[in-house]
């Protein structure tokens, strides 16, 4: 177990594993996502309340789901960075943050567009949308802090502290926003809360969530490899690898 753990910390070892994993992640993710989306767009039955606009759910929910779990993953990596000083963990935080920000933006954007036919307005200060907006702010903070500190080591550790502070705050923000929401506008009907979703609706949803997960894995591998190539550029194996890859 511990040996595995230490191996996992070695950038070289990770690089090889990622190389082998990436085609599976990309193609598996693409197939699952496309299958889920085509199913959801063309074959899933119409929602009796919201009509066809509900089909946005098949990208809205995966984006929102990923956006939140990417932040949780970053927090786990941040703990590993601070406690074990594992190089790969902070490489992950740096690599994942922009992807998480894009996914959060997508969740916000699709939520807003969905709001137009459902609520008749582009933006409502609905609890979910608002806490998504705050999550986007948190991502921006992480990216900005990472970019502002030029020294790699202290940048990684400062970002790790910020991510951890953020993750402690996420549940507090979520609950306070929900409470605030019920205070200001009672009984608007929620976007994604269905009493019981028929199986033809949640199965494609499940497929697209899984697909997007795999695609995120691919993004993480690719961007981590790039980061490793930059950081370890003085090592012998990276020099050899760079010579080979360019040809």
């Amino acid at each position: 177990m511990w040996q595995f753990f230490h191996k996992l910390g070695s950038p070289k070892w990770f690089f090889g594993i990622a190389n082998r994993l990436m085609p599976w992640l990309l193609w598996g993710g693409a197939v699952l996502l496309l299958a889920g989306l085509v199913w959801g767009l063309a074959f899933a039955p119409k929602d009796y309340l919201q009509g066809n606009s509900y089909r946005i759910i098949f990208i809205h929910v995966p984006s929102a789901f990923l956006a939140q779990s990417v932040y949780i993953m970053m927090a786990v990596a941040a703990v590993v960075t601070l406690v074990w000083r594992m190089k790969l963990a902070d490489v992950f935080v740096k690599a994942a943050a922009p992807v998480g920000a894009v996914l959060t933006f997508l969740a916000l954007f699709t939520g807003a567009v969905w709001g137009k036919p459902t609520w008749g307005t582009w933006w409502i200060w609905d609890a979910r949308l608002t806490s998504m907006l705050i999550l986007l702010f948190l991502y921006f903070g992480v990216i900005a802090l990472g970019a502002a500190i030029s020294d790699e080591k202290s940048s990684a550790r400062a970002v790790a502290v910020l991510v951890l502070v953020g993750v402690v705050n996420i549940p507090i923000i979520k609950y306070s926003v929900e409470w605030w929401n019920t205070l200001h506008q009672p009984a608007t009907f929620k976007l994604t809360e269905k009493p019981s979703m028929p199986i033809e609706m949640w199965l494609p949803l499940l497929l697209s969530v899984l697909g997007l997960y795999l695609i995120f894995g691919w993004f993480a591998c690719l961007r981590m490899q790039t980061e490793i190539l930059t950081r370890e550029r003085r090592t012998r194996w990276v020099k050899e690898l760079v010579q080979a890859e360019g040809n």
């Binding site: 933006f105 954007f109 190539l229």
Partner: protein
């Protein structure tokens, strides 16, 4: 199939513009992210190949090559 015809599929009873905008932006942004990530990767690799070539070019230039390497780092986006 939940729709009778292709036109019905595209119009989606008036909700088409919303649905298709969302899907369009989704794929556009994901595509942009793929492109950007691959571009970053290619830039890092080519910059390092340049450094290695420069370092191999001459022994006298070796200390300068090290300076060049750290200079290049500023150019590459670190995030």
């Amino acid at each position: 199939m939940a729709f009778d015809s292709l036109t019905a599929f595209i119009v989606m009873e008036g909700h088409g513009p919303y649905v298709w905008t969302c899907y369009g932006v989704f794929f556009l942004l994901l595509g942009a992210l793929v492109y950007w990530s691959l571009l970053q990767r290619r830039r890092v690799v080519s910059a390092q190949r340049r450094d290695l070539a420069r370092a191999a070019a001459g022994q006298s230039a070796a200390p300068r090559a090290a300076v060049g390497a750290s200079f290049n780092r500023v150019h590459e986006s670190q995030d």
